[in-house]
Symmetry: C2
Subunit: 141 residues, 2 copies
């Protein structure tokens, strides 16, 4: 998928390229080719024992990948919630700004990799669902 020309405006799955040979599997995410941003923050979540997320980012675009194990992500842009089963490292979940997300059902070995187009900024978070719905509605009205 070439994303240089346009940024998806709604959450979507992106298929990542894989190089598979006798040495193993290399899965890559390239700026300007697979995603329309350079990653200013990369983080990974492991040893998860409870739900995570339960917030939205006002300004940040993220890409989530299950690099090991499996987990589920519920996302909403203000209306209905959509669930994504993250159990295939080739399928990354692209999340534009103002996407509410909840991550849960992590398998014991699950590792969630995230790439973000901004550095960490607490002011970017919306942590209350009702605030989020209000802000999302005001953006689309």
């Amino acid at each position: 998928m070439n994303l240089t020309a346009s940024r998806p405006t709604t959450p979507c799955l992106i298929e990542l390229p894989q190089a598979v040979d006798a040495r193993g599997i290399l899965t890559s995410i390239e700026s300007g080719l697979d995603i329309p941003f350079d990653a200013k923050r990369v983080f990974f979540i492991s040893n998860v024992s409870r739900d995570r997320g339960n917030h939205a980012h006002r300004y940040t675009t993220q890409l989530l990948v299950s690099v090991a194990g499996s987990f589920t992500v519920d996302v909403s842009t203000g209306g209905a919630m959509t669930s994504y089963a993250m159990n295939d490292r080739r399928h990354a979940l692209y999340l534009p700004p103002m996407t509410w997300l909840r991550l849960y059902d992590f398998s014991r070995d699950a590792i969630c990799l995230a790439l973000a187009d901004t550095t960490y900024a607490e002011a970017s978070y919306v942590r209350d669902w009702n605030d989020f719905v209000r802000e999302a509605a005001s953006k689309t009205s």
Copy 2:
């Protein structure tokens, strides 16, 4: 470690920040704070059954992290080889351009995450050890 002011010129380990709480562990890598570049290419290697690497990059800086399992990385900037046991996700290996690397001894569950400051370019690779030693020597002479 604040790397905004200076870029390391030799391979080194960087300690990554971790947020540990009842929900699990979040390990982060932030541009301008933990590493002095935005990631234009992020890739991860899994299901490894043979040595990998055996090349250097002429222009690319990389950061390697063991997000699961363990592996070993041998690096050289033209002289002696140094070995790094990658078995702790908090300790990332920073590799400036013109670092020869060989990755081996992957555990079954090992996943190597890599962040690079350039997109993929075959012309950036030095794949022959003797060529590498020659190029490295000409840079330092």
